[in-house]
């Protein structure tokens, strides 16, 4: 096996050596196959070990559910009472503090922007890869992929949107706002969440002036019928 494979993935090749290795990988099927086998080994081990863990835990958890089944019925009434108490508590909390854009935006980011859609066809282009990494919680890795994509194609709206969401989840609000602003000014898109997302990022960043700017943006979203309008209308903040 070519010794440079370790150095390539360990990032210890010089720029020139790296370029040469990549050129050879494209042209030399033997080297390409060695790289593929190297990566397949790593993945086979990771998949195999995880599958074994999954099978063992699944069996253990199935057993747990079977043991729990009779107890669950007697707990039903207690659970119903707990739910009722929680509902009363939540109603009290909402009445006493009232909804604010900050709280609603935070809740929205925490619930609706945890995952993004991936195509169902199993394709593995870089944007899909970034989306899958994001959904897996590998945010830094997703950012590396979107940054790479934007370096080659800075006008790609889908990449821009995902890059903004990734930055938002990483709490890099300045970067998220920059991405969403660039997206929001585009007028060639059928659906553009740029301004709505910029408002969310500002409400999360909370520097002086952010709240006012976010409110302006949300007003614009509703007035112009931009993406996010239905969400803002449901928020019903007085």
């Amino acid at each position: 096996m070519d010794n440079r494979i370790e150095a390539y993935f360990g990032k210890t090749l010089t720029g020139e050596e790296r370029a040469q290795f990549e050129k050879e990988m494209r042209k030399n099927p033997v080297l390409a196959d060695e790289v593929a086998f190297y990566l397949a080994t790593r993945k086979a081990q990771a998949d195999g070990a995880r599958q074994e863990t999954l099978e063992a835990r699944h069996a253990e958890w199935q057993q747990l559910l079977e043991e729990e089944a009779p107890r669950t019925r007697s707990l039903w009434w207690a659970a119903a009472a707990a739910v009722a108490a929680l509902a009363v508590g939540l109603a009290w909390y909402l009445n006493s503090s009232g909804p604010s854009y900050e709280r609603l935006a935070h809740a929205y980011v925490s619930t609706e922007l945890q995952t993004v859609g991936v195509r169902m066809d199993g394709t593995a282009d870089s944007l899909q890869l970034a989306a899958r990494l994001f959904n897996d919680g590998s945010l830094e890795e997703a950012r590396r992929v979107t940054d790479g994509l934007l370096a080659n194609d800075p006008d790609n709206a889908e990449t821009k949107k995902l890059a903004g969401i990734v930055s938002l989840r990483l709490k890099d609000y300045d970067k998220a706002i920059e991405h969403f602003q660039q997206l929001g000014i585009r007028e060639d898109l059928f659906s553009n969440p740029g301004k709505f997302y910029e408002a969310l990022a500002r409400l999360e960043r909370k520097v002086p002036g952010d709240k006012e700017k976010a409110e302006e943006l949300l007003k614009e979203v509703v007035e112009k019928g931009l993406e996010g309008k239905e969400v803002v209308e449901k928020w019903d903040v007085k």
């Binding site: 190297y38 990566l39 397949a40 080994t41 081990q45 995952t115 959904n135 945010l139 590396r144």
Partner: protein
């Protein structure tokens, strides 16, 4: 300190699942039980069998545990939402696999970070070559390697640094680990090749 499973908040549960917690296993089981109703709900919503959603749910809980262990879970997301969304994705993956019957290369664990070190124009070719290998057979052959090779490949696939692998397995340096790993992979390749010929 012992805890009662029904009294745990998201925060307490996450803390108890983190590595080193004395209540780890118990907290993991509590997490599993907490959202187990999703198994029935998923079967109905996605038109999958209860067995399929049951394994998808176990897979989900395992992914959540892994995320917590690796510090990827953010407390800003409610645990329920987090579990629900991962479970939904696992069910969609299952539907896709059922409908296309296609063994995609990023099956099981997510795509290795190493794969996207490769430039876009070459990655497709490498992935195609990767798909030509039988991962189940490859894993069996890894198990047949000597203890040291097997352990080295295991640690490497978990993302352990070569420096740490050297310390753990008694190699002189990270460089020796790299060279030895390539030899192990060469040996694995020969073993895999033999079984494919038969």
């Amino acid at each position: 300190m012992a805890f009662h499973p029904l009294k745990l908040s998201d925060n307490d549960l996450v803390k108890a699942i983190r590595p080193g917690s004395p209540d780890k296993r118990r907290a993991e089981n509590t997490l599993y039980k907490q959202f187990a109703y999703l198994i029935k709900e998923g079967a109905w919503k996605h038109k999958l069998t209860p067995d399929e959603t049951s394994i998808a749910y176990s897979d989900t809980i395992l992914s959540v545990i892994e995320s917590i262990e690796k510090g990827r879970y953010e407390a800003s997301a409610a645990l329920k939402t987090y579990v629900y969304q991962i479970f939904n994705n696992k069910c969609v993956d299952l539907i896709r696999r059922n409908s296309t019957n296609k063994a995609v290369v990023h099956r099981g664990t997510s795509l290795d970070e190493y794969v996207y070190e490769i430039p876009d124009d070459t990655r497709g070719v490498i992935e195609k070559l990767m798909q030509s290998y039988d991962y189940g057979l490859l894993y069996q052959r890894i198990k047949q390697l000597g203890d040291k090779c097997r352990e080295m490949i295991r640690l490497w696939s978990e993302g352990t640094s070569d420096q740490l692998i050297a310390g753990e397995l008694g190699y002189q340096s990270a460089d020796v680990v790299k060279t030895s790993r390539l030899r192990c992979i060469d040996r694995l390749r020969a073993l895999y090749g033999q079984s494919k010929v038969k």
